[in-house]
């Protein structure tokens, strides 16, 4: 149900990383930044929304990062990174001008074909909005170009108003006609006048017809399970609910074995997978 990457092979970009230069760095939240990068020389093949890169911080190591933005030229990429370990902290701190190196694109993409002329729900939890952002851009492009009908709902849950990633984008999307954008937070500050609660609570008021809806969900696994359960309960078919899975990645090319989730190699059969496939696997403890 997911779209398999058309790229492959073995040349530079698959195993050997390709240098990229940080051209801009935007602080998203206190521990999260978005790096806009462009190739120093040759570019990796074009990323599709949902695919990821292995991002290398010189001398530190490499981590998987979904593309949070894909330049129209196919060369510029955005990666949003949260400083949680040595490598992610080094990438997070990369100032403009810093060179990093990328491999990819790896993994499956959000399957836009399954959303054509359907109501679409994009459900994001925290930094989970990052891999969904290029998808929202593609959905908005398709709708404004008349390539797809259906309503678009973007539902975002964040820890606090200050930890809402891509706040400017969210603001901009909500101004688009035919687009329903809702944000909820766990911990409102004194000046927050928006909703408080879990992101699934936003489904109650999102405009969609369950029988003709496709949903794209990314966030902590607990949140994705809850959202997928809720969507199914409301009548959205499980094979129309796509989630983005997270497991350890070392190679990205299906050879190292770290990212297994039962029958899936998440770097190859994911990260995007239909909930009809992923859901049953997520019911097993420590699979």
């Amino acid at each position: 149900m997911s779209v398999r990457s058309a790229t492959g092979g073995s040349g530079p970009g698959a195993t050997v990383p390709v240098p990229y230069r940080v051209v801009r760095r935007t602080r998203q939240t206190p521990d999260t930044a978005t790096l806009v990068v462009e190739p120093v020389d040759r570019a990796l093949p074009r990323f599709a929304p949902g695919q990821f890169a292995m991002a290398y911080a010189f001398g530190r190591g490499e981590i998987p990062l979904s593309a949070s933005g894909i330049g129209e030229d196919g060369r510029t990429l955005e990666h949003t990174v949260r400083a949680v370990g040595a490598v992610s902290a080094a990438l997070h701190d990369s100032a403009p001008g810093t060179q990093i190196a990328l491999r990819g694109p790896f993994g499956t993409a959000w399957d836009l074909a399954r959303a054509r002329d359907r109501d679409v729900l994009v459900v994001a939890g925290g930094i989970g909005l990052a891999p969904l952002r290029p998808l929202v851009h593609a959905l908005l492009r398709d709708r404004s170009a008349g390539r797809s009908g259906g309503r678009l709902g973007v539902l975002v849950g964040a820890r606090s108003p200050g930890e809402l990633p891509f706040a400017d984008d969210v603001e901009e999307w909500s101004a688009r006609p035919g687009t329903h954008v809702a944000v909820t937070v766990d911990r409102p500050g004194p000046r927050w006048t928006g909703e408080v609660g879990v992101v699934t609570a936003l489904l109650e008021r999102a405009p969609f017809t369950p029988g003709r809806t496709a949903a794209f969900v990314c966030g902590p696994e607990v949140m994705m399970r809850a959202a997928a359960r809720d969507l199914a309960h409301r009548g959205v078919a499980e094979d129309r609910v796509q989630v983005s899975l997270e497991r350890t990645m070392h190679c990205g090319t299906g050879h190292c074995g770290h990212c297994q989730l039962g029958p899936l190699l998440v770097c190859r059969d994911g990260p995007v997978a239909g909930y009809d496939r992923a859901g049953p696997l997520l019911t097993y403890r420590e699979l």
């Binding site: 521990d31 949680v84 820890r159 928006g194 909703e195 408080v196 109650e204 949140m223």
Partner: protein, 160 residues
């Protein structure tokens, strides 16, 4: 970006025929201005609301801090379930965060109606249980603080 007016299923959808009309007749539509206090924590839970439009915040008081909002409730949803369950006292306070349109119901009369119409009572109780279950699930999920930096993060809460 919040609120909305689409009580698709909503709390009152598809009630059993016996008693549905009587229940709806017990209620009356109200319009509440933003800032209206619906109820206070610890007071008798004598009413409940089903929202048509607008948002209501549920909150509690922490001395020395601003009113602590724990959850918001929007169109189609039930505001208040303490009226159904002893001791019939509000667990939280509720405030209209926006202008609100709602149907307001008197708790004692609805409880009496549920006694007379057991099927309505059963369905209404189940539905309240569903709401409470959902809020419990949401509360547990938030208790996990899933969006927080993972334990052992290199720079938890760092400010670059």
């Amino acid at each position: 970006m919040t609120g909305g007016t689409a009580p698709r299923g909503g709390f009152l959808a598809r009630l059993p025929e016996d008693g549905a009309a009587a229940l709806l007749a017990l209620g009356g539509d109200v319009a509440l201005a933003a800032g209206t206090r619906l109820f206070e924590e610890g007071r008798p839970a004598d009413r409940f609301w089903v929202l048509h439009q607008g948002t209501v915040t549920l909150s509690t008081r922490v001395p020395g801090r601003p009113e602590a909002v724990v959850e918001t409730v929007g169109a189609g949803e039930l505001v208040g379930w303490s009226w159904l369950v002893p001791p019939h006292l509000w667990r939280l306070a509720a405030t209209a965060a926006t202008a609100v349109q709602a149907r307001e119901f008197p708790a004692a009369e609805v409880r009496d109606l549920c006694t007379r119409e057991p099927e309505l009572g059963r369905v209404l109780t189940l539905r309240v249980a569903e709401v409470v279950g959902r809020r419990l699930e949401a509360t547990r999920a938030r208790l996990l603080d899933l969006y927080a930096p993972p334990p052992g993060a290199a720079h938890p809460g760092r400010v670059p």
